[in-house]
C-alpha cells in the first residue's frame, strides 16, 4: 500500500493495487463496486482478485500495478516472473530466519529462472543481514518503519524510489550543493 500510495500521490501515476494472495483484507476495508474495485487516494484497489484477470488489467492504462501475493508465492511464480520489479520481503527474526532462507533458495532455483528480485526487510539486525547476503550473494535493503502506509513522508521517498526502480543506489537523488562561503 505504501508503494501504491507513493506511485499514485508522489509520482502522479495511474496506479492499481491487486490483492492476489487471497488475504481478503481489501474487501474488509471497503466494498468494491460493480467493476470489482474501489478507489482510494487515487489508487484503484482490486480485492480478492483472480490471477486470470491480470492480463485484462494490464491493458487498462495503468502506469503502475502493484500485485500483492502475500505468502502465496509458490502458486504465483508465473506472475511474479513476468513483473518488472519483484520485491520479496524477508522477515529475519530468529524464529523466521529459516523460512526466509528457504524462500531465497526457492527464488534462486532454476525453476524460478534464476530471478533477481529486490530483497527487503524491516528491523533487520546487521549481522543476520550480512550473513544472509554473504551466503546467497544477494543484497538486502533495510526498509524504514513507515508509520502510515497511506501517508508517505518525504524522508521515505528515496527508499520508495529504490524499490520501484526509479533510482538506483548509484543514481541517488541530487542533494542541494553547499554554497561556498566567500570569506571567513
Amino acid at each position: 500500500m505504501a508503494l501504491a500510495n507513493y506511485a499514485a500521490s508522489g509520482l502522479g501515476e495511474k496506479t492499481a493495487c491487486l490483492e492476489l494472495g487471497g488475504q481478503q483484507e481489501f474487501g474488509r476495508w471497503k466494498t468494491a463496486g460493480r467493476e470489482g474495485y474501489f478507489t482510494e487516494a487515487g489508487i484503484d484497489y482490486y480485492p480478492g482478485l483472480d490471477k486470470t484477470q491480470i492480463p485484462m488489467l494490464l491493458n487498462c492504462g495503468y502506469e503502475t500495478i502493484i500485485m500483492d501475493f502475500g505468502d502465496d508465492y509458490r502458486n504465483a511464480s508465473g506472475e511474479l516472473l513476468r513483473c518488472d520489479r519483484k520485491i520479496i520481503l524477508l522477515s529475519l527474526n530468529p524464529w523466521q530466519e529459516f523460512a526466509a532462507r528457504k524462500l531465497v533458495q526457492t527464488v534462486q532455483s532454476a525453476e524460478w529462472g534464476n530471478a533477481v528480485p529486490v530483497y527487503a526487510g524491516v528491523h533487520i539486525q546487521k549481522p543476520v543481514k550480512k550473513a544472509l547476503e554473504k551466503e546467497f550473494g544477494i543484497s538486502v535493503l533495510t526498509l524504514p518503519v513507515i508509520p502510515d502506509p497511506v501517508c508517505i513522508r518525504a524522508e521515505e521517498f528515496p527508499c520508495m524510489d529504490l524499490i520501484l526502480g526509479r533510482r538506483t543506489e548509484n543514481n541517488k537523488r541530487k542533494k542541494a550543493r553547499i554554497p561556498i562561503r566567500k570569506r571567513i
Partner: protein, 461 residues
C-alpha cells in the same frame, strides 16, 4: 590531518592564517580548518580554540580539534554554511526591513549570551558584516580570534577590531567592554539601514545613533536594552515582520492553457525568495510540468521539495503523501487554467494571467467574467503586450499589469523585479513597500559599491 580530511576549497585568508573547507574522509562531514602560521606574531591566534571551547551557542561554530605540524597550527571548526552578510550586502539591491530586524536580533542575542557568560563574561570585539554568515538556520558568528574575557588587560588580546566598526574607546586604547560590542551592533545597524534604501528604515537610525554614542552613559548598557527598543520600534510602526500573515497564499490562474501561468508563478516564487521572503511554488494543476522537470534532474531535492537557485517548488502530490511547505513561507499556487479550483482556494491574492494575442482575448473576457467578483484579483497581460494591457484596463475597469517577454523563469531580471515590486506594493498591503528612495547620507557610495558587487557577481556566474 591530511589523512583524515580532504581539502575542497579555500574559504578565505587573513594575516597569518588561511581557512579551508574540508571534508572528513570517513564521516563525510564538512568542516572549516583554520591554518595558523607558527610564527611569533601569529601564534596568539591559537587561543581561538580555547575561546570557542568555552562557548556553547547554536549561532557560534563548535570547535572539534586542534592539531599542529612544523609549520602550522590547525584549528578544526564547524563549517558555517551560507554567505557572509558582507557578500549579501554587495549582491542584493534590496535589504528588507524584516531582514535587518532578524540579523540584528540574532547578532545581539549571540553577543548578549557572551556578555552574560559565567564566571567571566566575554567581549567579541570584532563585529562586522564579514563575520556574520547567513545560513538556513539563521546567522552564525565566526572568527573569535580577537574575543577576550571582560577585564582582561595588559596583553595584546585587547583593543582589536576593524576601524569602521570599533568603538572610540577601543581606538584610543582604553579597555574594551560590553558597550564596545554594542557600539559595533549600532554601526552594523547603520550599515544595513543605508543598504536597505527604504524610508521606513530611518526610524532605526535613532536606535543606531544611541548605540553608537561616544558617550558611554548615553549608549545602551546591554544588548537586551537595544533589542527591547528595536522590538518596540518595529511593532509601533507596523512593520512587515509583524504583518507576515497578511500575505501567505497567492493563487495564479490563466484564461486558457499554455498562457504562461506556470512561468508567472515560478518567476514570482524566485522573486520572493530573492527578496528574503521564503516562498514555495506548488503545482496545483494536472500538467505534470513540475514532475517532468524533477525527473529531468534540474533540481536539487530538499525533503520532498525541489530547489534551483532561488526557486523552491513542490510537484503536485496526491493525498497519499505528506510533504509540507516550510513554516511561515508564502505559497504560490499554480492552478494553470483551472479557474474553478483557483476560485475555491481562499487566497490572499489571485493573479489572473490573460493572453495578449488577438485570438486569446475572447478566452480572457470569459475568464474575467468568472473571476471579476474576487476582491483580491490582479490582472496580468502576458508577453509584454502593453497595448492589449491598456485595452483590458479600459474594458475591465481595473489596473492591468504587463508581464515582460521572458526567457528563463528561474532567473530574476530587472523587468520582472520592477513588475513584482510595483504589483506587491500596490496590491499586497503595506507588507511590500520596496521603494527605491535614497535619503540617508552616504548611501550613494553604498549603491555604487553594490552595483559593482552585482556586476562582479554576474561575471563570476
Amino acid at each position: 590531518m591530511s589523512g583524515r580530511y580532504r581539502v575542497l576549497s579555500e574559504l578565505g585568508r587573513g594575516s597569518g592564517s588561511i581557512v579551508y573547507l574540508v571534508r572528513h574522509q570517513k564521516l563525510g562531514e564538512y568542516r572549516a580548518v583554520k591554518c595558523i602560521k607558527k610564527e611569533p606574531e601569529f601564534t596568539w591566534k591559537v587561543r581561538e580554540a580555547s575561546i570557542l571551547n568555552r562557548l556553547n551557542h547554536p549561532q557560534i561554530p563548535r570547535v572539534y580539534d586542534l592539531d599542529e605540524d612544523d609549520h602550522y597550527y590547525y584549528l578544526v571548526e564547524e563549517y558555517a554554511r551560507g554567505e557572509s552578510l558582507e557578500a549579501k550586502m554587495l549582491r542584493s539591491s534590496f535589504i528588507t526591513l524584516d531582514f535587518i530586524f532578524q540579523v540584528i536580533t540574532e547578532t545581539a542575542n549571540v553577543l548578549d549570551y557572551m556578555h552574560h557568560l559565567k564566571p567571566v563574561p566575554m567581549v567579541y570585539q570584532d563585529l562586522k558584516p564579514e563575520h556574520i554568515i547567513l545560513g538556513r538556520e539563521g546567522i552564525k558568528l565566526i572568527d573569535f580570534g580577537t574575543a577576550c574575557c571582560l577585564g582582561e588587560t595588559g596583553n595584546k588580546f585587547q583593543n582589536y577590531g576593524t576601524p569602521k566598526f570599533c568603538a572610540p574607546e577601543q581606538a584610543t586604547g582604553e579597555q574594551a567592554g560590553i558597550q564596545s560590542d554594542i557600539y559595533s551592533i549600532g554601526k552594523l545597524l547603520e550599515e544595513l539601514v543605508y543598504a536597505e534604501g527604504n524610508h521606513h528604515a530611518r526610524c532605526l537610525m535613532q536606535i543606531a545613533g544611541k548605540a553608537t554614542s561616544p558617550d558611554l552613559s548615553v549608549r545602551y548598557q546591554t544588548a537586551e536594552e537595544l533589542l527591547a527598543d528595536l522590538s518596540v520600534q518595529m511593532q509601533s510602526n507596523n512593520h512587515s515582520i509583524y504583518q507576515r500573515h497578511l500575505l501567505t497564499k497567492i493563487v495564479a490562474a490563466g484564461s486558457q492553457p499554455h498562457i504562461g501561468t506556470t512561468h508567472l508563478s515560478i518567476s514570482l516564487t524566485v522573486y520572493l525568495n530573492h527578496k528574503n521572503r521564503q516562498a514555495v511554488y506548488r503545482e496545483k494543476n494536472t500538467s505534470r510540468h513540475m514532475r517532468n522537470a524533477v525527473e529531468s534532474g534540474i533540481f536539487a531535492e530538499e525533503g520532498g521539495l525541489y530547489r534551483r537557485n532561488d526557486f523552491l517548488g513542490m510537484p503536485a502530490y496526491g493525498e497519499g503523501v505528506s510533504v509540507n511547505a516550510p513554516n511561515g513561507s508564502i505559497e504560490v499556487l499554480d492552478y494553470g487554467s483551472d479557474l474553478a479550483g483557483a476560485l475555491a482556494e481562499r487566497a490572499d491574492m489571485l493573479l489572473f494571467m490573460a493572453g495578449s494575442r488577438e485570438w486569446e482575448t475572447g478566452f480572457a473576457d470569459l475568464a474575467f467574467e468568472r473571476l471579476k467578483s474576487e476582491k483580491n484579483l490582479v490582472v496580468i497581460a502576458n508577453y509584454g503586450g502593453k497595448q492589449q494591457a491598456r485595452r483590458y484596463q479600459e474594458k475591465y475597469g481595473q489596473p492591468v499589469y504587463c508581464f515582460p517577454l521572458d526567457a528563463d523563469p528561474f532567473e530574476m531580471t530587472k523587468e520582472k523585479e520592477s513588475l513584482f515590486d510595483g504589483l506587491l506594493e500596490k496590491e499586497g498591503n503595506e507588507m511590500y513597500e520596496y521603494r527605491n528612495c535614497r535619503i540617508c547620507p552616504g548611501e550613494w557610495s553604498n549603491t555604487l559599491i553594490r552595483g559593482i558587487g552585482k556586476l562582479c557577481g554576474k561575471w563570476v556566474r
